[in-house]
């Protein structure tokens, strides 16, 4: 590993190397916490790389052993040679079935508060979507768990988020429901046997309700997703038109 004085963010050779390393580590660990500049830069690289690698993997004959698949996939040459086999096999074995319905948008950036160090650098998380360790998935599950424990209905924006998160995930809705139950036990000390929250701290935390309860299953539900600026109405369903059969078409 080069020492800090020899590794600069404005030397093209070093930047390329950083991109490769960050991409490999992102795929290895599913999410990484870095500074925002690095996350934004690596997002473009990782998206291009993953799209290319998965596209080439579809073209390759599937009935060959994994080693020859990795050798045949030329997109994997982007990675550092020592990472190529480990990360490449993960892409072929795990990510290819996971991203069958996606051609782009494999990553997400979440903004975090500045680092508590000397430099106060703005931080962010970059994560692979639809993974088991997706932070936004668990955060949304925690929101739904809290609302269920408070006896409120889920608001529009959370519903939209849940729909987005479970759309392309294999068995998404089932997994999300399981995650909500896990969040109840994990974060709110919910006892599934007695169906009660007994921890006094968690109970006190649950007393903090949203400001306007009308958004949570009241009169205002459905108003947040609609555009405030343009008074749009949902498009009416298309009627099935019957085209008369041409007399010139041979029967």
């Amino acid at each position: 590993m080069p020492s800090l004085q020899k590794f600069h963010a404005n030397v093209a050779r070093h930047v390329k190397s950083m991109d490769k390393n960050l991409t490999a580590n992102l795929i290895r660990h599913e999410y990484i916490v870095t500074t925002r500049t690095k996350a934004k830069r690596v997002q473009a690289k990782a998206e291009t790389f993953l799209a290319d690698a998965l596209h080439r993997n579809d073209k390759i004959a599937q009935d060959q052993p994994i080693n020859s698949k990795i050798v045949a996939n030329r997109a994997l040459n982007f990675l550092q040679p020592p990472d190529k086999f480990e990360v490449g096999s993960k892409i072929i074995q795990e990510l290819a079935p996971r991203y069958q319905q996606r051609r782009s948008g494999f990553t997400r950036i979440i903004k975090l508060e500045p680092r508590l160090g000397e430099d106060k650098a703005p931080m962010s998380v970059i994560e692979l979507v639809d993974s088991e360790y997706e932070i936004k998935f668990w955060y949304t599950a925690k929101i739904v768990a809290r609302l269920e424990l408070q006896g409120l209905k889920v608001d529009d924006i959370t519903q939209l988020n849940v729909q987005k998160l479970t759309k392309f995930r294999p068995e998404g809705e089932k997994e999300f429901a399981a995650a909500v139950e896990t969040c109840k036990v994990e974060f709110f000390k919910y006892d599934p046997e007695t169906q009660q929250v007994t921890d006094p701290e968690a109970l006190k935390n649950l007393e903090n309700l949203p400001v306007n309860l009308e958004y949570y299953g009241g009169d205002l539900s459905g108003s947040l997703v609609a555009s405030k600026r343009f008074k749009t109405q949902p498009r009416p369903e298309k009627e099935q038109a019957e085209i008369p059969v041409s007399p010139f078409v041979a029967k």
Binding site: Y133, Y139, R146
Partner: protein, 189 residues
Amino acid sequence: MSLSLRLGGSFLNEALLGWVPRLTLGLGASKTSGIARDSRLDDLKKQIEANNGQPPFMIDNGTILRAAPKKKMSHRRHRTKLYTPGDKQMHPLNNIVRCPACGHVKRSHFMCMHCFAEIRTFLKGKKRENGLIKDVENPQSDLDPVDERILYPGKFVQEDERMLQKKEWIPVREEPLMYNSKQTKHIKR
């Protein structure tokens, strides 16, 4: 202060003993003129009486002294703070909202750090369960205690080393307040 330091603690004690009754007397007189007496002076009087007429070992923020700036703010610093253009001054946060997952305050469009810490710890445990994170076990963790004392007699740890081992120098994020819409500047509905 420097005088009392030079002359030693006894001077301070005598000075204080002489000073407190006079002060209370004076304040008692002023009470009749309508100004309330500082309750901290009564505390100090109680402490002196309980301590056989000696002043308490520490006269700190709890009794009479309040926090004070360590140094005089320089002319430049003072003018910079008050009169520089607005973009150089510190701004209040106007984008504070309620975190829907824990009810604490957070900045809008940013992840709630309280929830993030919880979720990250949980996910690390999950990774550990699935075997993605492997903890390296110390190969000599099951040593006999007698053997261990002979093999590793331990060394004398200096005071500064012990302080460093406590890891208090690592900054820790403090727990955020619970969100209250009455306390925010712009009340959101």
